[in-house]
Amino acid sequence: MLTSGQKMFIVIATVSLGFVGYLVFPTMDITAQEQPIVFVTHSGAVVQTTGDVLDPVYTIQEVEFDPEKYLRDFDYGKVSKLEDGTTLREFTIIAEDDKIMEIAPGIFYNVWTFNGSVPGPTIRATEGDLVRIYFINNGDKEHTIHFHGNHPAEMDGIFEIVGSGGGQFTYEFIAGPVGVHPYHCHVMPVEEHIGHGLYGVFIVDPKEGRQQADEMVMVLNGFDTDFDGENNLYAANTIPFYYQHHPIQINMNELIRVYVVNMVGLDPINNFHLHGTLYHYYPTGTDLVPSYFTDMVTFSQSERGIIEFEYEYTGRYMFHAHLTEFSDKGWTGLFYVKDSSQLNTEVYNFGS
């Protein structure tokens, strides 16, 4: 028979081996294997796994911020006429800073928002309109709105800090000059307030209008989700790789106009490269005559412009940052060019 010392020895040995075994081989799962699932790599290879797939693909149902909807969503405000005939456009913008949003599949980030989204609403007016913005700060921090463009000093959103917890301010100015401009919070540290998402696009249309086109807005942005001074994710319109997996549908031989605004912080430059055609570029959109005909434009921080192009052929065309680091981290997408003259247009469904 075993002595008590021997028993003790066996118990200690078993317990320590069990613990070490758990630490060394915890992934050994003896429960039944689930049905393997399949995913496709960027180079087209098909890979099978019994586990979970890590892939920055969003399905429409999951998406908290819908880049599809944002793309062509223009807010013209509440319109009325003043006695002198001037058009008045009224907007309400509410700032918040406590929202946690899934900015890429599974990645939750504290976004600071104008009207609940990053970017905020695309505000649109015609040159000479009176723009009135009722700003409410429902955040825990101080915020402002600083518009790029012409306005009096006290409407600049720099010194008129709007306090947290319901502070209010009304911005009022005559829309101008013609072009595409950013607006953003200008409370120090500005990089932090912009980095968390307090920005949006302000479009001033010329009185005579622009040529009829399929218009869209692309805000180039990035997120430093671990605060190491380097952006972890980049995108056109917030969600990385979104338009890559959900191509933007456009028509062949139709004029496409994209208002591009670069709001990426931390990195000094960004750029916009288009495949399969070249575009006319209007820096800041202030001139009605294009400056370049190109497929590559470089933007410094908060630099923006209008690009116009048409496709001669149908099919899928990439648009992306030609800084490969940015495109590798999500700033990449596709146009799907359809021939609208054909009746039974085949709708392109990615992944189906």
Binding site: T41, D52, T225, K329
Partner: protein
Amino acid sequence: MEVKRSSSTKTAISAIIPFVLLAVMIGYVFGPGSELISFGVVIPEISIEKVEFVDSEIIATVRNTGPIAVDIVMADIDDMILPAAIEPDKHLERFESAIVRIPFEWNEGQPYAIGLTIDDGTRFEKRVDVAAPSIQPTIEMISYFAVIGTYVGIIPVMIGLLWFPFISKLSRSKYKFFLALTVGLLLFLGISSAEEAIETSAENLSDVFNGVLLVATVAIVSFLALNYLGEKLKKRAGASKLAGPVAIALMIAIGIGLHNFGEGLAIGAAIVLGEAALGAFLIVGFALHNTTEGFAIAAPMARTKLMIGRLAAMGMIAGVPAIFGTWVGGFVYSPLTAVIFLAIGTGAIFQVIVLIMRWIQNEEGKLSNSSVLAGIAVGMLIMYITSILV
């Protein structure tokens, strides 16, 4: 009988009561609805413990080494976000680990940074200096490692055993000197094992494992366990005069065997991690070192009749584990296993040292004998010099 049983039940209950109270208190303080400890920010942490390069795929072994459960949500290589698979699943409880498979056409010899991002957006990275195809346990590789293990473990120890006739012809005081020399050799090996274990834990293990304390705990437990086994062995060997030295030699062989397992582990891991130069260096270095181990086994038996069979068996006990070590290191390497085995080896060596010292003391009566002291010093010097030269 009845009385005895009820008293042992009472003992058991009285041992459990404090645990129950402790559990109640912890439940009250940390349990649901408790607001007592709700301050501070909990920082999640994961560690990428191993990176392997296989056909068109990079495989990272990741462990949750933080205080809370996390989800792994994104994988990248050199900041390039890529579709990947995580098995068994992306949710990792504390200390749980998973395999992340990232399909990628990697180039041999190139450095890569493997990044994993968790649900709060924090990215963790592991840099690999040189990508090299990971080694699969094919028959060829298994035999290749066995050959290396033989060169490092068995052959040098056997060569060392050839000192037996030389030692057996020595005078009493010279013999004591050589026995003490063995102590010096082992002392050096023990310290280098401990250093290796602590270094490996510092480089590859997350802080959460408390590397130094893990090494100390495992080494001391291994020391105590072998001590216990050694005593049993001696008792079983009985009073026969021959048994004493043979039992000691056997204990030395077992201790050295455990140590050699650690050496094999280091060699296997170095080859797998693509550090071929380091692997070759380790092979030569360990081979030279290990002849002295043969000497250590031969020394205590030198006063007995030459028993070639037994001597060879001891050589095998000391040498063969090197082969198992290369297999484990080469095919199922994990930094945690490496640290644990190195620490076991450390404990084993120190146990053997105590064994020999006790034996010298029994024979000699005291340890401060000049030939003993000189032997220990010379032993350490020899090891130090061979460690510099190779």
